[in-house]
């Protein structure tokens, strides 16, 4: 093939055609991926509508959809109490954890007192920690603190467990804020505390929002801590309580599926409302974590 043909071919005629073929292929691939992603929800939904206590045969729209299953699952699992309990736990964890994580990130990045590098390294060390690694001592510690079987048994340890990521995340943000910002404030005689609230926190708002979203998700979906540290399912997070239902309704597939769908509904609903922020937080969260 001549040099001219090699140069002109991709430029002139096929320019539009491969692009369209590419788009169609891309859409076909994405459709397949979306199908695989949604399949579990669809089968759960169809199973949830089968008569309670039966074994529905795979994916099949029931002749007589039993919407009542959702009501039964909601009531017998005390979903209203669980929603309240999960909300209290999330509200106990996220604001405190985000606030002190942001403060520490600012302190390490901008004020950088002597020795803070070592402390930062200690925090980073915890980034890959599997929770199972410390769940046993955590049980005895929480017991010694007298908060076993209370919501605090989930709230306080989670704040500690989120610190490596929070500090890492917020420090990465503050390191990139130009120093002139705080210098200007310093000349105006602002204390570090005023500088933090008036200058730094307003600029850090997107980073703080992402952090809050991630920690809300992690708290809401947390499973190991609730099942170990809180015996009463109704004092747990929704995900933790789901473990108890499985024991309770393990053989009643329609009710189990209805319960699981109710339990995953709040996060999915929140996700659909705030999808842009969630997607950004999850992508950045993975990259930085």
């Amino acid at each position: 093939m001549s040099a001219i043909a090699a140069l002109t071919e991709p430029r002139t005629r096929p320019e539009t055609r491969p692009a369209q073929v590419g788009t169609i292929t891309a859409r076909a691939i994405l459709l397949a991926l979306m199908f695989v992603t949604l399949m579990p929800f669809v089968t759960m939904f169809s199973a949830a509508l089968a008569p309670s206590g039966t074994y529905p045969p795979g994916l099949q729209w029931p002749a007589n959809p039993q919407w009542q299953n959702f009501v039964d699952a909601f009531q017998s699992a005390h979903m209203d109490q669980l929603l309240l309990s999960s909300t209290i736990i999330a509200l106990g964890v996220v604001p405190v954890s985000v606030l002190i994580g942001t403060m520490a990130g600012f302190g390490i990045a901008k004020l950088a007192p002597k020795g803070s590098k070592v402390v930062y390294l200690l925090f980073v060390l915890g980034l890959t920690l599997p929770f199972e690694g410390i769940i046993t001592p955590l049980y005895y510690e929480v017991k010694a603190l007298g908060i076993l079987n209370t919501k605090l048994a989930i709230i306080l340890p989670l704040i500690g467990l989120y610190m490596p990521f929070s500090v890492y995340w917020m420090r990465a943000h503050f390191v990139n804020v130009p120093d002139e910002m705080s210098e200007a404030a310093e000349i105006d005689g602002a204390t570090a505390w005023q500088q933090f609230w008036r200058v730094q926190v307003p600029i850090a708002r997107p980073a703080i929002l992402s952090l809050a979203i991630l920690q809300f998700l992690w708290t809401w979906n947390q499973f190991l801590l609730p099942i170990v540290l809180v015996e009463v399912p109704l004092e747990r997070t929704m995900a933790g309580a789901l473990g108890a239902f499985q024991g309770q309704w393990g053989t009643n597939i329609p009710l189990l599926c209805a319960g699981a769908l109710i339990i995953l509904a709040p996060t999915v609903a929140l996700f659909l409302v705030f999808q842009r922020q969630f997607v950004a937080a999850l992508l950045q969260g993975a990259v930085k974590g």
């Binding site: 089968t43 302190g107 920690l129 199972e132 769940i135 500690g160 000349i187 204390t191 992508l283």
Partner: protein, 306 residues
């Protein structure tokens, strides 16, 4: 030196005490986070190490046993199988999502615009926002003997291989791996798709003009360009596999036998069901070290050369 500075240091206090005060203020920002971290992470890590040297039922008197718990964890065949299970899960949790993600990313490079792309992005992220427990329940139902997987296989004329996948001695662990792959697939795909969009398109154009094959493009442009994103995907998925708990707890409970038991589940069982706190803690320390030992080289290999 500004006027304010000289006033503060000259008139009110000596320069050293100003610096001392500044350091105190700085530490006041850091200390609350550190107290929580120390109390609920560093101290428990220390206690895990201490417990790992004991023979203790969690209630009565503990006996100091030195390193004998580690000897058990690293030599008894059941424990070795449990550790091997975790590494086998890495194959499913990591290789499937990263391989599919790379394929998809190269195929749809620059075609993820518009409303269709946005919808796809949203849907592919859903597994990331639901509790893993719910994913476990959904898939145990799909993989059950009368679940949709077998239904599909029968439709394809493969009725002879249908079974209760999660109860099958040979297929339970791959089936659990498949659940993890499903959870992580969307995240990896989106990370790689976002990454590939950042590669300079002129590189691909130049390669095409040079007559490079699709494989050459992939090998010499896409792979190096996605180095960092691949590193992120591999790190996240390897940790998810080694530290897996929720999915296994719900889908199989570790069975049949110990075919799908992973370290996280065994720690939970040893500590809270069998009251063997020492052994559980030794396994916990081994797990923490394994995760670090696996993650560090990945980070080191995929760090962008500066």
């Amino acid at each position: 030196m500004s006027l304010a500075d000289s006033q503060r240091s000259g008139v009110v206090r000596s320069p050293t005490s100003v610096r001392g005060r500044a350091a105190l203020v700085a530490w006041a920002f850091i200390v609350p986070a550190f107290i929580f971290y120390a109390t609920f992470v560093l101290v428990p890590i220390g206690m895990s190490i201490y417990y790992s040297l004991l023979r203790w039922d969690g209630i009565g008197k503990a006996q100091f046993k030195g390193l004998s718990n580690y000897l058990v964890v690293l030599s008894e065949s059941d424990f070795l199988q449990i550790l091997a299970n975790a590494f086998q899960l890495v194959v499913y949790f990591t290789v499937i999502p990263v391989a599919i993600g790379l394929g998809v990313a190269s195929a749809i490079r620059n075609h993820l615009g518009g409303r269709f792309g946005a919808t796809a992005r949203t849907i592919l992220f859903i597994p990331q926002v639901i509790p893993l427990v719910a994913a476990g329940i959904a898939w145990s139902w799909m993989l059950a003997s009368d679940g949709v997987v077998n239904q599909a296989l029968s439709l394809l004329g493969l009725g002879s291989i249908t079974r209760g996948w999660l109860g099958d001695f040979d297929f339970a662990l791959p089936a659990v791996g498949l659940i993890g792959a499903w959870v992580l697939l969307g995240l990896c795909t989106m990370l790689l798709v976002t990454g590939i969009a950042r590669i300079d398109p002129s590189l691909y154009e130049a390669a095409r003009i040079d007559g490079a094959s699709a494989w050459d493009e992939f090998r010499w442009i896409t792979l190096p360009g996605l180095r960092q994103e691949i590193g992120v995907c591999v790190t996240v998925t390897v940790i998810a596999a080694l530290a897996s708990f929720d999915i296994v707890y719900i889908a199989t409970g570790g069975g049949p036998g110990i075919q799908t038991t992973v370290p996280g589940l065994e720690i939970y069982r040893l500590a809270f069901a069998h009251r063997q706190v020492g052994l559980a803690s030794a396994l916990a320390v081994v797990l923490m070290l394994l995760v670090i030992l696996c993650v560090l080289p990945i980070q080191w290999l995929t760090r962008q050369p500066k």
